[in-house]
Symmetry: C2
Subunit: 372 residues, 2 copies
């Protein structure tokens, strides 16, 4: 009987696991939040991932549990593990992706380079940090931030007064890093410890949302490539990650690398690998969480570029624009998430690969522009 | 709402349409012959494809009908079309893939090069053909042959006596072509007429079953590449094919090309394109039958090799061998069909791509050998 993989969460990341699961011969099943979500085709259950009984019933029908997102509560995860369910990544690792303060403290222990940071519980502590860092900083709610929400640049302690008022929990404050660009390092790690690292990529954010990814990161020195890889491996091992890990990085103007955020699942910064690497991140995640041997991460082409399709106000149906994009750009690989288009919502992405970066960027942007 | 594609037949070809359908955002549904078939994940109905009411009910829930095989009876297909159902390929085209005598006659009209052939209804006619062709020939039952069944080399009219006795229908007799190798040319064609052609490939058959495919066909002259492409286009257009067409070809020792068989669906000779071309044949078939713009067929690598995995007597589970194959050959792309392994049964295939043919062949064979 085929190995059964249960994915908690029915979003586009679960959806994009379906294709490689079918080819690998894995029986993929999804616990979706609602009917009609992106991963509908593999949704065998609908329910609340915060409810232990719901998750437990779903887990009974599969051999391993993994995730479309990092929001399953620790108590649910730990109760599953206590019952002998294979959960990858496990709760010990996932806590670092769920709580940015816990993550910062652990990365400090590991000696991983990161921005100056502090846990602050009131305006005075925040003001002290601001005074030490040129009067500006980034404040983050440690939990529940996603796609730029729960992140705010502050210049005065009063800028975070509402967040301090909401509950008594500590906030994370970080130095506002003067970076020249953002990078991302992906690592896959099996329960047995085998690891592979993807080439470090450049990510371009707009309005706090990933817009474009260039793979590999153009113009990166050999030293920086090695540093990024080494940081990725150190975190994957140090935090006991199983499955895909994405480490979002700042590159500073003095060529240092600092860790920004972590994700323990396939990540937008790795979508290029679906068409640009011998083993895409969704296949790799499935291999890693089922403890199958990891696949080759060699790039298929010198350059791959991913451009997100954000739902926009354009006239006509998604399908109309799909047709035009494909006609003009037959080499563009268009991936759709089966989601209704709303302004700013990620509804798909375009991957293009080739020998010349400028051409690849041009084609990927031009194809994606049909949907804007 | 997503475009709904209905696939009749639940085998591995339907299964391998699932991955690109998900990425393209098509709603794929399968009418399977039974529970638990290869394309189970997308099976929304189970029933007999020869029963019009079954097929009609399935067709009501989709926007276009296409196929995993060519066995749906003409009367069922024509009744669907009469009701306004979009069927691709349509019955007018499919008849040429369903009846080899009808195919031979039509290719003759088109002037496409093919082996000498005749329709014979008794031993005397067969003997006359044998006498004209050096005392040997190939006899085929015009309908229902698959994977070498219904094909027999004869040296005397009595060798086909049982087939003549079975029913009064004519048999197809063809000259036994002295070929140096077998090739296959794939073409995709939309209802609107747009066509793209894949590079001609070499196919290696063992015991009448496709064993290996080399893409492109090694050592092929530019002239031969053009002739194969031109034959493919002529047949796709002349027969009104929509979707993928595979033309199986003989290359003779005097560098002629003769048409052997036709298939109007994704075909074993095109599996390499899943990993070896920008647009794989399963995605291309879906694009063609939904009349979406066709994708780029450029090869991703200089060489791609496909080796079929035939179920064998080896000890251990399929999964055990999967693990070993992946460990030793992380660059091999292993595609599994979710079928129980029986000796000689196609249960998966391996694709490998690369710069050096010898290395690619070696790796593909070595990975597949784990399953033998």
């Amino acid at each position: 009987m085929a190995l059964r993989v249960g994915v908690i969460g029915g979003g586009q990341l679960a959806r994009m696991m379906i294709a490689p699961a079918v080819e690998l011969g894995l029986d993929i099943r999804v616990l979706a939040e609602a009917e009609g979500m992106s991963a509908q085709l593999a949704a065998t259950a609908v329910g609340d991932y915060r409810d232990f009984e719901t998750v437990r019933a779903f887990a009974k029908e599969v051999d391993v549990i993994t995730f479309d997102h990092e929001h399953v509560p620790q108590e649910v995860l730990r109760a599953l593990v206590a019952e002998g369910v294979a959960v990858h990544p496990g709760p010990d690792a996932l806590q670092y992706a769920q709580d940015k303060l816990v993550m910062r403290a652990r990365l400090a222990e590991l000696g991983v380079p990161q921005p100056d940071w502090a846990a602050v519980t009131n305006g005075d502590e925040l003001q002290a940090f601001l005074d030490d860092h040129g009067g500006k900083a980034v404040v983050k709610t440690p939990r529940g931030g996603y796609d730029g929400k729960g992140v705010r640049v502050v210049r005065d302690a009063s800028d975070a007064a509402d967040w301090f008022a909401e509950d008594g929990d500590a906030l994370l404050v970080e130095e506002l890093v003067s970076f020249v660009r953002e990078l991302a390092q992906q690592v896959a790690r099996r329960p047995s410890g085998q690891m592979v690292t993807y080439p470090v990529v450049e990510t371009v954010q707009r309005d706090g949302v990933c817009a474009e990814v260039f793979a590999p990161a153009p113009g990166t020195s050999e030293r920086l490539v090695q540093v990024a890889e080494s940081i990725g491996r150190q975190i994957a091992e140090g935090l006991g990650v199983t499955g895909m890990l994405a480490v979002e990085l700042f590159e500073t103007d003095d060529e240092r690398i600092l860790v920004n955020e972590l994700a323990m699942r396939p990540h937008n910064s790795g979508h290029w690998s679906q068409d640009g690497a011998v083993t895409g991140q969704f296949e790799q995640h499935l291999r890693a969480v089922t403890d199958l041997p990891l696949g080759d991460v060699t790039a298929r082409s010198p350059w791959s570029v991913m451009v997100n399709i954000l739902g926009g106000p354009a006239e006509g149906t998604f399908e109309d624009r799909f047709d035009a994009a494909m006609t003009e750009h037959p080499e563009a690989k268009i991936h759709t998430y089966g989601k209704a288009a709303r302004p700013g919502r990620k509804v798909g992405h375009v991957n293009v690969t080739g020998d010349t970066l400028d051409d690849v960027v041009y084609t990927a942007r031009a194809a994606a522009a049909h949907f804007a």
